[in-house]
Symmetry: D2
């Protein structure tokens, strides 16, 4: 019996699209190994040992050569998987090069750097999906600039708006969320290097050179100081993912509401058995909107976990740091899944302008009350106009 968490069974909903493959066990393991390989090269480039040793190490840094589950089990002794990973890696490297594996670094240097690599790699397809979803909104906004439907406030018809404007609102949200995530990717995702207590002491005078080399090697930012216990970087990523989830869920909520049987102004594309029910043959469920909502609903709690884990003790935290590991990959996985679902939803969304018009007409002109008031106000004054319209509009 495996001790890994459930997940495959629900992967169709919560691990959809290209991000999931960037944040799974194998991807994280590869990122840990990439961090070790890059550290070796960065150290060799700084003159700490021969380049050949670095290459000998890097040559063994392939996830396929390791067993994530076994490492995970052995992680129990030290409290993190880097300790057994380093031991296993060193055992696989021949000759003197083995002595330079992980040289000067502490477990957290490798694990934090790997987490940032994982995030960087996961953000690429996530940003793509967000951009595609935004593009779909742009098309809807353009196509439907003249499609009139009821603006709704507090779930009541208010005044008319256009479906194009509604889609434009979604577009702005998706675009701004994407821009912020991109900013976080460029600025917040940094390598970690400090050694045991963050002093770079084990690198002698070459610490800053190794740090710069490491950042260049991995395409991550170079921090001013080690951030072992100053967790603004993961917090910024979590915050941006949280805001993105909120926007994705806003669009999905609107779609689910517009797709209600009694409203029926939009429908998901369906096809391929999509939206079917185990018992009700006629059902065409808005599965994508539901899935986005389900993914996104799990995000705020995880962001809170990341923020609550920020007060980390001294030079390495006694638990709060550990709480970040799976939480961060979970955040990436869920927001990635939600973005993938929403992209698909928006690219296939069916809009029914006639029904939009009919729903508005069914309210017998009441949504024009504000406009009528304004028109009457020119002659009667706003107060008197409002009184008259109030009387006419009384239920």
């Amino acid at each position: 019996m495996s001790s890994t968490p459930s997940g495959g069974l629900f992967a169709g909903v919560f691990a959809r699209g290209p991000v999931a493959g960037q944040v799974d066990d194998r991807a994280f393991l590869q990122a840990l190994l990439d961090a070790e390989a890059a550290l070796a090269r960065a150290s060799a480039a700084a003159g700490l040992f021969p380049a050949e040793a670095a290459e000998a190490i890097a040559a063994r840094c392939h996830a396929g050569l390791f067993d994530a589950d076994a490492l995970g089990r052995r992680a129990a002794a030290s409290g993190n998987p880097v300790v057994p990973l380093v031991r296993t890696l060193a055992a696989q490297v021949d000759g003197d090069a083995a002595e330079h594996v992980h040289q000067g670094a502490t477990s957290q240097d490798i694990l934090d750097t790997a987490a940032m690599l994982v995030a960087r790699r996961a953000l690429a397809p996530l940003l793509d999906d967000l951009a595609a979803a935004a593009a779909a909104c742009a098309r809807l906004a353009d196509e439907h600039r003249g499609t009139v439907l009821a603006g709704r406030t507090l779930l009541q018809q208010a005044t008319p708006t256009s479906f194009g404007l509604k889609a434009a609102g979604w577009l702005v949200g998706l675009d701004e969320a994407r821009l912020r995530l991109d900013e976080v990717r460029e600025q917040a995702l940094a390598v970690q290097l400090g050694g045991a207590a963050g002093t770079l002491a084990a690198f002698g005078d070459d610490g800053l050179a190794v740090l710069a080399n490491l950042a260049a090697e991995l395409g991550l930012a170079e921090p001013t100081l080690p951030w072992h216990t100053v967790r603004l970087r993961p917090a910024a990523l979590a915050g941006a993912l949280g805001a993105t989830a909120g926007v994705l869920a806003k669009v999905a909520r609107d779609v689910a509401l517009l797709a209600q049987t009694e409203v029926a102004e939009v429908a998901e594309a369906g096809g391929g058995g999509r939206g079917g029910s185990s018992t009700m043959p006629h059902k065409r469920n808005p599965v994508a909107a539901v899935a986005v909502t389900g993914c996104a609903a799990r995000v705020p709690g995880l962001v809170a976990t990341m923020l609550a884990a920020m007060p980390q003790e001294h030079e390495r935290a006694a638990g709060a740091w550990h709480a970040e590991w799976e939480t961060l990959t979970e955040l990436l996985r869920l927001v990635g899944s939600a973005a993938s679902w929403l992209r698909e939803l928006l690219e296939g969304l069916r809009v029914d302008p006639a029904r939009m018009r009919a729903n508005l007409d069914a309210s017998g002109g009441l949504p024009m009350a504000e406009a009528v008031t304004a028109a009457l106000a020119d002659g009667l004054g706003r107060r008197r106009a409002r009184e008259l319209v109030d009387q006419a509009a009384a239920p």
Copy 2:
């Protein structure tokens, strides 16, 4: 590339002990199948179809006959794994019996019932670990009723207390948490049965009989009404797990603080490379306390997710229900892991009464200030006594 979440790599920390195996994919899949088998038997017992058909169905309800990952992928079409599971199960059942697979039920009936089964099975070893941890505290309380150490408030030495009393405080916490969890197990974990819209309509007049049979079959409580969108049951479980995590983390926090280099009043048992560092040969890290803290720190956010998911629409929610699935197993896994770590920690805890005494003595009697004030108060009055002691105790 698998689309399952990371997990194995960190399983040593977050999936330790016997609960993890009760909440993984295979366990959840088996619970879904157990729910289908029990439904078939419950329906047959109510006379809806022959017992042979039920047994023919039950005979195929073994997780080993199914592929959780494949079901997960196919779940995307309908938004939950029950739809493809039912289809696959029916295809494996011979003859007319296949027609009775899932008869009268809705996906949520099966998924909710399975989640409750998973919880029930996970709680057994969790309650065991809590009881064992409490027993270890009881031993410590008994052994150390006369072991004096500094009581500490706001991380400052306050007045003396005994380590036995400290352990007794932990004991009461662990015990009360366990009792509440046990109560939740008995009362809150119920079967779900309602059919498409919660009316039991598809069972004709036999709905209530099938419900009663189903509850008896699975050893779960029988609810007054379907609770498809009234989510007090999962919320009660989440709340009790959250409170348990808080108690576990309280004990771990105390241990980590007492184990500080400068305090050194307790130590974890160590052995087998436990507590080693990748860079610092002398380190003996309080790995278990750290792991408990790391597990528990992830719990409050997940409880918030469960509570935030409670307002579920009409007869089945459009996303909020889905948000519960992995969150609930995650909660069980993390609290189970924390309990397993803490049990081990407490069973091996090394206590240093001499150091406790020495740390107290190092404060030069200041922690006795309150007692001195009280003694002086008999003759001088409390106000004057406090003034004198304030002067004497001034730094």
Copy 3:
């Protein structure tokens, strides 16, 4: 410029009903004073000092004699308001009795006991409102047992149900939430007494007697041990309030959805300008449902705060305890307000059975698809029946 938080401006929404007055500053101050008075009486009853001294103290324990804002400002020096309160109280008590103010207790004894008193007093009207809301549901369930409407899953019409059953589901939720809250009131709300480090040392041999007297005096439970840093009691209260909020919000969500312009199956009572808009004369907003939703949406985060604050250090926490104070009153206030709103909503809810029927009819019989399938299955077998109905129901 006052330093109190905003609140009055939004009190109409978030501090509605009778609970708000039980959790405001004055009520908390009175509870602190009640705790001091009861401590004095409990100590006198245990023979620690004359009953006259206790009565002299109790005679000054009236909130009206104190300035909460001034105490709050002075609380900055010690980090809690009990220190200046005790000083002020002692200064107001004449003669030797002044020496017995707060005797033997620590600030946390008083503050925790007061918080429990506040909770007990706030729960009375909250439980009343929940009971009244449940009673209103019972009436609706009874009246509308034959009122047919569409059952809706994932916001799509599924199969028919009755409004009576829907209301019965709400009833069960409200009732179970109320029962759990009542249980928490009886079992979890306990006095706190331990003195500086939880040892009751300053009470000599009379500590347990004072504790028992104090519990009897205040009508709160008597704990096995001080719970200064084992926070199951506030956590249980928070968890039960969180679950209650979830149920309240579920009912409100249903009402808001049923009240949508396009659905219009229920309406809030309105009257007295209720539900008006600043710009749209025709709007009749479901204000109560919106307010319940707004109150309840703030609860899960606050519960997470309470749970995250549970790992409290040693004998008194360095910050986590403080985080509970306002969070707990906020939880009571918000859930109290939500309950008050929902009671009013349900007591005045207007139900439109004709519209319910019409909405169902508008779906052209599709919600009967499951029933038709079942009927056909008798002759054709379930699989073939489902195929035929699938074809007939295809959009």
Copy 4:
């Protein structure tokens, strides 16, 4: 009995410093009125009505002329305080100008704009306190670049570091948090204007001109589109405040740990009765560190509330928007209070270099184990060196 929340009693801890006065009821009320005044001027400048009318309106927009509590009570009817505020304001404005009060706007335009104004005003002193705290860290970093103390990981002494480097780590955290908050202030805080359904319809052709004027008038950003239900702006603010709280709490945690009786490497300044206990004359509690921790611990849950409230329906949310109001001011108040406390703490922090050295020496050279290993490695190879040091360092 007032229905406002408790607060004054705890204001010394949670409403300390200059931010509190910017987020209380009066400040929010003034911001609402400032928004109405600016709207009038912006509309007049766009030619919608005479400037005299705008000035007549603006002349009445003073909080002192209104009763926040009364408005709050009347807010219950419409669900927000803007409706009664507009009515009261219009009643106070003479002649035709009264007709132009709130013209074209919806309640949310005013409330959102006011919330952004409140945030802008609160951020000024908050950024000041952060800058001052960072400056204090810079001084400590400079002064103590040569002050050696134990680096501590998992609460165990690891390898030596310097207190200057530790303070530099705090400095970087405070500075980066401040820069992000400043960025949010400049970019995310925007006016809101859209009218009933976000179309600006009631402004005729002048909507965009009024919007631009309004932004200029108030010194807030001009949004591309109304953001009534696309809540990235409040989410960005909440996220940045959450990250700031995490950094503040990290520093406070370090201070509280360093100030422990057994460590005693730093102390808070004390003075003026600061840090006293109600029962223990000798106690000098780290009150500021405790208060920072208490404030910050309440933040992650509130951020989660803001994020969970993001999926807002259609053109105005039915509850989720309401959940933001008090949550946002609470976030500002708590982070403002924490920053004020930490500034004071850092400006007065007493550092004891001799004790730092002594604590390190007490570990008998073990923290130099890594360095010794490295030194030996030159001759013996890293593996053999580690083996030897492991033996020597074994407990």
